[in-house]
């Protein structure tokens, strides 16, 4: 498999090159730019609802500008639209940016490059994966424009709220479109995931054993396996919800009296939906996080000019986290009335995850120790990622404890926790990945000064937004509240909300520095050198101007692991994987 079409160099039309491309490099860019567009939409939504939360009940022309007279009469946000914004913001960020955007971009870019393959195992399936992703994005955006508004039941769309149009306007057509969009998304994710798994298993070049793979590939490989095993369960949950909504079944419904009428549906249980949803929902957290950890591993090792510390332990912890992620979903459901004994089991398994996570964090810190650190923007974002991973991770220890969860469940403490540990970590790593591999994607360098400006505004605002929310949670403020002003006990906390909103809006605006830098550098950036960061991995041995099949001659042969940085006795501070071992030299990863 590793040999084959080396002279695969026919002329391409615009359509086959840019639109219906089967080339992993182009598909990766398509995922990235679609993900960026979705992210901007999700970010604008968060700014809009932060306006309401920071200055409750005040009028803003910009709300009226974006939402119109129906959803923001006189510039004051409508409570139903508030819930819709929160819901679609969550859906877009979790699925479209951090699942499709992150895995889609970097699995496509890095897997063939870093394992030494000409392309994905199935270019056609890969193309389909992107087109299903695009279709699902388009449907999600269309759902914003229906008369009754988009889905508004929270990104977890628990029935009966999401099942009954009588319960809220967003559970009408908007919810139907949400389900249609997510179904296509799942198809996209499965087509992509299967492809990534098969490619990593079958198409590694000569010498590229599993224990010589860069950690980015390990992470993307395990992520793909998680997705393939868990997304079908979400699909079944969505399918049953579609049945309940449209065909009169009662999988999730029982004993409901709504809008003055008896609903004759008995025997179902919303708890069933919660189990099915979180059986995906928890692995999903690691589908978001593992690629982020993989990217961080690469960027930190390269820019510290030092091998990643504890390579095998890193692989072990990826595998441990992946395994455990399938047996912890119940920690989202401690208070659903689930058997308390089951809650105790889930507390135990959840806290186990802290161990491999701690190992990863300590290993990153040790990689920095006695390194020779170059502060590229990618490196800064990676260090930030380690910081957010720790800051958000430690509060997970509290929330995993079923007893403590009683008082913190569904408060802002949870919002702070998952935004920092999952949202920020993954976003930081995604930025690190884009700054690091931009030269490989476009053959140009991004502007470093703008990169620094972008990094510092983003990092400071990120903590400015989410760190104070811990205090809201400890004061008992529930999440998804349109306003806290109905409760006098929350009056002392108004200034937190205002501060958070200011940071959120400045942070959102500063992302345009990145967007400007990205597109400006794509066209006007200085040309990159062959191996700008002095990396060991195979992608930097391919030509700067990408070609079909990646390598013009035969595929490279791998002789060593990916982390021979600053190896004693070598003239340079890096040794690419293609350099043969000298007599008596140990392969760092292999013993």
């Amino acid at each position: 498999m590793a040999t084959g079409h080396t002279d695969h160099h026919h002329e391409e039309t615009f359509i086959s090159k840019y639109i219906f491309s089967q080339d992993h490099k182009m598909i990766s860019k398509q995922f990235l730019i679609t993900g960026m567009i979705m992210a901007v939409i999700g970010m604008i939504m968060s700014s809009l609802f932060r306006l309401q939360l920071g200055w409750q009940g005040e009028s803003f022309w910009i709300l009226n500008f974006f939402l119109g007279d129906k959803w923001a009469p006189d510039g004051i946000l409508d409570p139903n639209m508030y819930l819709a914004l929160v819901t679609i913001h969550g859906t877009i960020m979790v699925f479209f940016l951090l699942t499709g955007g992150l895995s889609g971009t970097f699995a496509n870019l890095l897997i063939p490059f870093q394992i030494g393959a000409r392309d994905m195992a199935s270019g056609f399936m890969n193309m389909l994966s992107y087109w299903f992703f695009l279709a699902s994005s388009v449907i999600m955006i269309v759902s914003l424009f229906v008369e009754t508004g988009p889905a508004s039941g929270g990104w977890t769309v628990y029935p009966p709220l999401s099942a009954l149009p009588q319960a809220m306007p967003g559970s009408g057509l908007g919810m139907t479109l949400w389900l249609a969009s997510m179904s296509l998304f799942i198809v996209s994710s499965l087509l992509g995931g299967l492809n990534y798994v098969v490619t990593v298993i079958n198409l590694r070049t000569k010498g590229m054993t599993m224990t010589r793979l860069p950690l980015s590939i390990w992470a993307l490989f395990v992520t793909a396996i998680l997705g393939v095993l868990s997304f079908p369960v979400l699909f079944s949950a969505a399918l049953l919800l579609i049945f309940d909504r449209s065909f009169g079944t009662a999988f999730y419904l029982s004993d409901i009296h709504i809008a003055g009428e008896v609903m004759e549906r008995t025997g179902g249980s919303p708890i069933l939906y919660e189990h099915l949803f979180w059986f995906l929902g928890h692995p999903e957290v690691y589908i978001v996080l593992l690629p982020a950890l993989g990217i961080t591993s690469e960027v930190i090792a390269t820019n510290s000019r030092k091998p990643i510390f504890g390579y095998r332990a890193m692989i072990g912890s990826i595998l441990a986290i992946a395994f455990l992620s399938f047996i912890v979903w119940g920690h989202h459901m401690f208070l659903t009335g689930m058997n308390p004994f089951l809650g105790a089991v889930f507390t135990f398994t959840t806290l186990l995850i802290a161990i491999p996570s701690a190992v990863k964090a300590f290993n990153y810190i040790t990689t920095l120790w006695k390194g020779n650190i170059r502060f590229t923007p990618a490196m800064l974002f990676s260090i930030a990622m380690v910081s957010t991973f720790i800051s958000g991770g430690v509060t997970g220890i509290i929330l995993a404890d079923s007893a403590l969860d009683i008082n913190l469940h569904d408060t802002y403490f949870v919002v702070a926790h998952f935004h920092i540990v999952m949202g920020l970590s993954a976003v930081m790593a995604m930025y690190a990945g884009v700054y690091h591999w931009f030269p490989k994607m476009y053959g140009k360098m991004m502007n470093r000064k703008l990169g620094y400006a972008h990094f510092w505004t983003t990092f400071v605002c990120a903590y400015g937004v989410f760190f104070p929310q811990h205090f809201l949670g400890l004061a008992g403020v529930p999440r998804r509240y349109y306003s806290n002003s109905e409760f006098p006990i929350f009056d002392d906390l108004i200034s937190i909300n205002e501060m958070v909103s200011i940071f959120a809006i400045i942070g959102a605006i500063s992302q345009f520095i990145f967007i400007f830098n990205f597109f400006y550098s794509m066209f006007k950036g200085p040309r990159t050198t062959q191996n700008p960061w002095g990396s060991n991995t195979l992608e930097w041995t391919t030509p700067i101007d990408p070609i079909h099949g990646n390598w013009p001659g035969p595929l490279p042969t791998v002789h060593r692991w990916a982390y021979d940085y600053s190896k004693p006795g070598k003239p340079e501070d890096f040794v690419p994987q293609t350099v043969p071992l000298e007599d008596g030299e140990f392969d760092g990863g292999g013993h």
Partner: protein
């Protein structure tokens, strides 16, 4: 509005700085001063910024604690809540130490080992000793957290509720709460969502409500039959009415089947007490809550008692606790004359989710017993209401049922 303008101007300033940087970059490119990798000056500057950030981050944390530390929830007003607060403090102590140490190392190393072209990094691939150390140390701390945490969890959720506990049912709907006390027999009367009517919002099943509900359904069915006769043949209206009548027949059959319940079962609800907007609980006595839901999932959150449980349609969930501080005492402790314990909804349930509340009043047991005696029982509360009702058929049916009762 002014705030928005401030934000907008900050944004523009950021953009302007970006533009200036671009000009600067372009001019340095002209001088040939561009490099792929960060310059020594840039590396050193960013390394220093690592320490600046570390200091700023810790200061922000400290400032938040100083500014808002005393604005969090007051001391727990329930017995188990005190244990939970201790557990939380213990957890916070551990994670704050871990957070601080790891962050100091992370940012200090980043600062200290800044790039120097004359130096080579230390080729250090792994250390079994170190890795064993930071696998086992977290494991030991986690073992303590798990054992302590689970023993609290088991105490709270799995112990038997004492027989003399006050039993209260909380029944939410979009967007309010209703509370029902079990009354003198300490047993909640049977209930069913098909029994819900204007005078019986909880669907309690008693002989009286059963007769009333059957009569109400019969009347409604009769109305639909009249409409069906008037409806044009073969039209949509006719179809709708046929379906309605079929549905009403099914509901009637179900409701009539409640007559098969034991006579004893059908009288349990009579002494129940239903209250809205505020419920009262005695201090120092176990209160056992039963939760149902009328429409979507809600969550009964009582933050001052460290108590929460979801309310799920189709099932009954439970939670119980013993309160330790009366409302009056808490008002003194918090030096807030208007302090009230609250119940709020903590599971997204629709547009007015943010304003679905009920007051909780904690009083001494004597006062509680007195308060209970003043309340109307369910049987008392529906009798006059139904006599004043407007539907004639209902009235007739109810008179009959009352005689039977």
């Amino acid at each position: 509005m002014t705030i928005f303008l401030i934000i907008l101007s900050i944004a523009l300033a950021v953009l302007a700085v970006g533009q200036l940087m671009r000009v600067f970059e372009a001019s340095s490119q002209l001088k040939g001063g561009t490099s792929v990798l960060p310059t020594d000056a840039e590396n050193k500057y960013q390394a220093k910024m690592m320490l600046v950030f570390l200091a700023a981050y810790f200061s922000f944390f400290a400032w938040l604690v100083a500014r808002y530390g005393d604005k969090l929830l007051p001391e727990s007003a329930s017995e188990h809540g005190v244990h939970l607060d201790n557990l939380l403090d213990f957890n916070f102590a551990i994670i704050t130490v871990v957070f601080a140490i790891t962050h100091v190392f992370l940012f200090y190393f980043a600062f200290k080992y800044v790039f120097n072209k004359d130096r080579k990094a230390y080729y250090y691939t792994h250390s079994n000793k170190l890795e064993l150390l930071w696998t086992t140390v977290p494991a030991i701390f986690l073992a303590v957290i798990v054992i302590w945490g689970l023993s609290e969890w088991i105490d709270i959720t799995m112990d038997e509720t004492p027989n003399d506990a006050v039993v209260i049912e909380l029944y939410p709907k979009q967007f309010d709460w209703t509370a029902r006390y079990a009354g003198s027999d300490s047993t909640l009367g049977a209930s069913n969502y098909m029994m819900i009517s204007g005078t019986n919002p909880l669907g309690v099943i008693t002989n009286q409500t059963l007769e009333g509900r059957i009569a109400e359904l019969e009347t409604e069915k009769a109305d639909y039959q009249i409409e069906l006769e008037k409806a044009p043949k073969g039209g949509l209206k006719e179809q709708e009415m046929i379906e309605k009548i079929e549905k009403w027949d099914r509901i009637l059959a179900k409701v009539k089947s409640f007559n098969d319940l034991d006579e004893a079962n059908r009288s349990l609800g009579n002494d129940d007490i239903i209250v809205k907007s505020e419920f009262v609980i005695p201090r120092g006595k176990e209160v056992s809550f039963k939760f149902r839901s009328r429409d979507v999932i809600h969550s009964a959150y009582m933050p001052h008692f460290r108590a929460q449980m979801n309310c799920v349609p189709g099932m009954v969930t439970e939670f119980h606790f013993k309160s330790t501080i009366t409302t009056d005492e808490m008002r003194e402790k918090t030096q807030n004359e208007e302090f009230d314990y609250i119940l709020l909804c903590n599971k997204i349930c629709g547009a007015a989710h943010y304003n679905m509340q009920m007051n909780i009043k904690v009083v001494e047991e004597e006062e509680f017993n007195k308060w209970m005696q003043e309340q109307e029982t369910f049987a008392e509360s529906i009798a006059p209401a139904e006599q004043n009702g407007t539907a004639n058929a209902n009235q007739e049916a109810n008179v009959i049922s009352m005689i039977e009762y």
